[in-house]
């Protein structure tokens, strides 16, 4: 079984890394295929669950989460402020009020858009060569039974032992502080959390944008709240009363309500992240308690901290901006066809699951009908239900479909050996990779049109899991019906269980009041689901 896998991932069959005009003969077929069409950009074959706009310049998560709501709330509140409060305050106070409001608003919107549309630090998946090399290194004992790669590797970082986990999806040992986001299906460097409010992961590259966003939003909220309160107070002067003021300016009441409920959670979140920045921690590490010694191990400090608040802040917020590693707008080199084919096959397999489901249904039906002719009709209905259920299942089922579909419709002789002799493979994505040489000579034409749907890249049409999507829908309903309290939930999503945080974080985190405790429970699970 191990041998079959190594045969499949044969480095010799794979191409050279740098582009050249001439190629070895076995790639001639694929080369012609590639020359026939316009060169594709890398974002078009990106394996993660992201969507791309403006020809790869903008990247967002698959689900936009509540980003429209966030933008809407900010826009509505600020527009109401400018229309209803600013004229009065301009006349009675100073021109600086709308000026400051304007500047803050611009800062908030720009940093929000940057947080949402920037690559958070996605690590590209390992090439098949690398994956094979890692497996060879681990399993060099030469045993005949297939052992999965061990899941952890220990390294010493600043005299402290840190465990690196192996990511089965990305086929590599994750660098320290990297985590795999299940919603985006990517490993993200310095993973903080997946924020539904901005509709993207927050990681190494966009943490500073996120921090700027929440800090400027706190200022904006406090500013608007203060200005609106001043406005109403001025109107209510002279014994005319608050009700009179509210009647004259009803929009102010709306702003007051929104700001009042937002300010606590936003201020709390800003405070929490300021603490994280000062101690060079991520939300993920703080929640898991990686460095707080909760597991009882002594001498577990944060190995990444510079033990100086200023240095920590500077390194996180003002450090050099790392480049995007996924090179979205780069063109696919023709010679990386096997890699493309690998990803295309993964995509094609996902897109063809409907076809495979049908084939599976038919084959199951035929088998059953052969054994129980009277039950054939009832079983066809059962088959269609079964297919629908299978479409909602995880990778394991996809593996089953692939192997079942390959046997009735083989493209070359090789897949037969794969499907029958590697039953213990942990990750069916391995199977997709192992199909490389088998399909290099016969690339799937279905993959080509499926990738050209508008400007978007749908890589996971039917495959797993719909559970986060359903969770998000549940989220959205929650938030839309309880928009007034939505901001408190916002804090809960990020902070999860404050009671947990109380036990871990030092007393420098304000705003985590007991008001957030209740009602946060149902979101703890969701936020934990987002935090891989």
């Amino acid at each position: 079984m191990k041998h079959c896998e190594y045969q499949q991932i044969d480095p010799r069959a794979l191409s050279t890394p740098a582009p050249t005009p001439t190629l070895p003969p076995q790639h001639a077929v694929v080369e012609e295929e590639k020359k026939g069409e316009t060169a594709r950009r890398k974002w078009e074959v990106f394996p993660g669950k992201n969507r791309f706009y403006c020809d790869g310049r903008i990247i967002v998560a698959q689900q936009s989460g509540v980003l429209p709501l966030t933008l809407g709330l900010i826009l509505v509140t600020t527009v109401l402020f400018f229309v209803f409060d600013c004229p009065f305050l301009l006349k009675h106070l100073t021109v600086f009020i709308p000026a400051i409001g304007g500047v803050l608003f611009v800062f908030v919107v720009i940093s929000l858009l940057q947080t949402s549309f920037t690559d958070p630090g996605i690590l590209p998946r390992a090439t098949p060569d690398e994956a094979a090399d890692i497996e060879k290194q681990i399993d060099n004992s030469g045993s005949s039974t297939y052992r999965p790669p061990p899941r952890t590797k220990e390294v010493m970082i600043n005299q402290q032992v840190v465990k690196l986990k192996y990511c089965f999806t990305c086929k590599m040992f994750r660098p320290p502080r990297t985590s795999h986001c299940s919603l985006c299906d990517n490993c993200v460097e310095r993973f903080d959390h997946h924020c539904p409010w901005v509709g993207n992961c927050v990681g190494k590259r966009n943490y500073r944008f996120f921090y700027t966003f929440i800090v400027s939003l706190s200022f904006l909220t406090v500013f608007i709240f203060g200005c609106v309160a001043t406005h109403l107070a001025l109107r209510a002067q002279g014994g005319r009363g608050l009700m009179f003021a509210l009647q004259e300016s009803p929009a102010s009441a709306v702003e007051l309500v929104i700001c009042f409920f937002s300010v606590w959670s936003i201020l709390g979140l800003s405070g929490f992240h300021t603490y994280l920045v000062a101690s060079n921690l991520t939300t993920n590490e703080d929640i898991k308690g990686s460095w707080s010694g909760k597991s009882g191990a002594e001498d577990t400090g944060n190995p990444y901290s510079y033990n100086n608040i200023i240095t920590n802040c500077c390194s996180v917020l003002c450090g050099p901006m790392p480049p995007s590693l996924i090179d979205r707008r780069g063109f696919m080199p023709v010679e990386e066809s096997s890699q493309t084919v690998a990803t295309e096959i993964e995509l094609a397999t996902k897109n063809e699951i409907n076809v495979c489901q049908l084939v599976l249904c038919v084959s199951v039906f035929v088998c059953m009908a052969h054994h129980h002719p009277p039950l054939g009709g009832q079983l066809s209905g059962l088959c269609s239900v079964l297919c629908w259920l299978m479409s909602k299942c995880t990778q394991g089922t996809k593996d089953l479909l692939e192997s079942a579909s390959r046997s009735p419709c083989p493209q070359t002789g090789k897949p037969q050996t794969v499907s029958t002799s590697c039953p213990d493979s942990i990750d069916p994505a391995d199977q997709a990779v192992t199909f490389n040489p088998a399909v290099t000579s016969d690339p799937d034409p279905v993959a080509v049109p499926s990738l050209k749907c508008g400007g978007r890249h749908h890589s996971h049409t039917t495959s797993p899991p719909d559970e986060p999507r359903q969770q998000h829908h549940h989220h959205n309903r929650h938030h839309k019906t309880r928009s007034a309290r939505s901001s408190s939930k916002r804090a809960a999503l990020h902070i999860s269980n404050p009671a947990y945080n109380f036990s871990l974080s030092p007393p420098t985190s304000p705003g985590l009041g007991p008001s957030h405790g209740i009602g946060a429970e149902d979101h703890v699970r969701d936020s934990f689901a987002a935090l891989h």
Binding site: M172, C318, G319
Partner: protein, 143 residues
């Protein structure tokens, strides 16, 4: 590209014998550093000192890219004041150093590695995870 003329010729004749991956070295944290340990597969092809020198220079270049100093703080603060819109127009310090690194690797390939039937791949093409060294079959030695 001019620098791959010799490599192209070689590649037309040579097939890939093996690929060696130099992994990241995390002993100093998350900064981009590669292990300087000399892989055994390259023993017959290149001098150990030469190879370690290449990797060490690469490490120094990456350290320069990620250095926290006056200029990087200035760039960061300026970017913050302009709501990071400056990143849309200006090339960051890191990107400038990456260009330097690309040139360095190209140079090393031309001068040292190509004549020995080896090829270094720029780590940025592998997501800064590994330095990939491709070993070509050495026809001259009758292998």
């Amino acid at each position: 590209m001019a620098e791959t003329h010799s490599l192209q010729d070689m590649r037309q004749q040579a097939a890939i014998a093996a690929k060696v991956f130099i992994q990241r070295d995390y002993t100093n944290g998350t900064v981009c550093q590669f292990q300087t340990k000399f892989p055994s597969e390259l023993e017959t092809r290149i001098d150990k000192q030469q190879f370690e020198e290449t990797v060490r220079t690469l490490n120094n270049l990456y350290a320069e890219a990620e250095k926290l100093g006056g200029s990087s703080y200035l760039e960061g603060c300026l970017a913050c004041l302009t709501a990071y819109t400056i990143f849309l127009c200006m090339e960051t310090h890191y990107e400038k150093v990456l260009k330097k690194i690309a040139k360095f690797i190209q140079e090393q390939n031309d001068k040292i590695y190509a004549p020995r039937g080896l090829l270094l791949t720029d780590p940025i093409e592998r997501g800064l995870r590994v330095v990939e060294v491709t070993i070509f079959e050495d026809r001259s030695l009758g292998r």
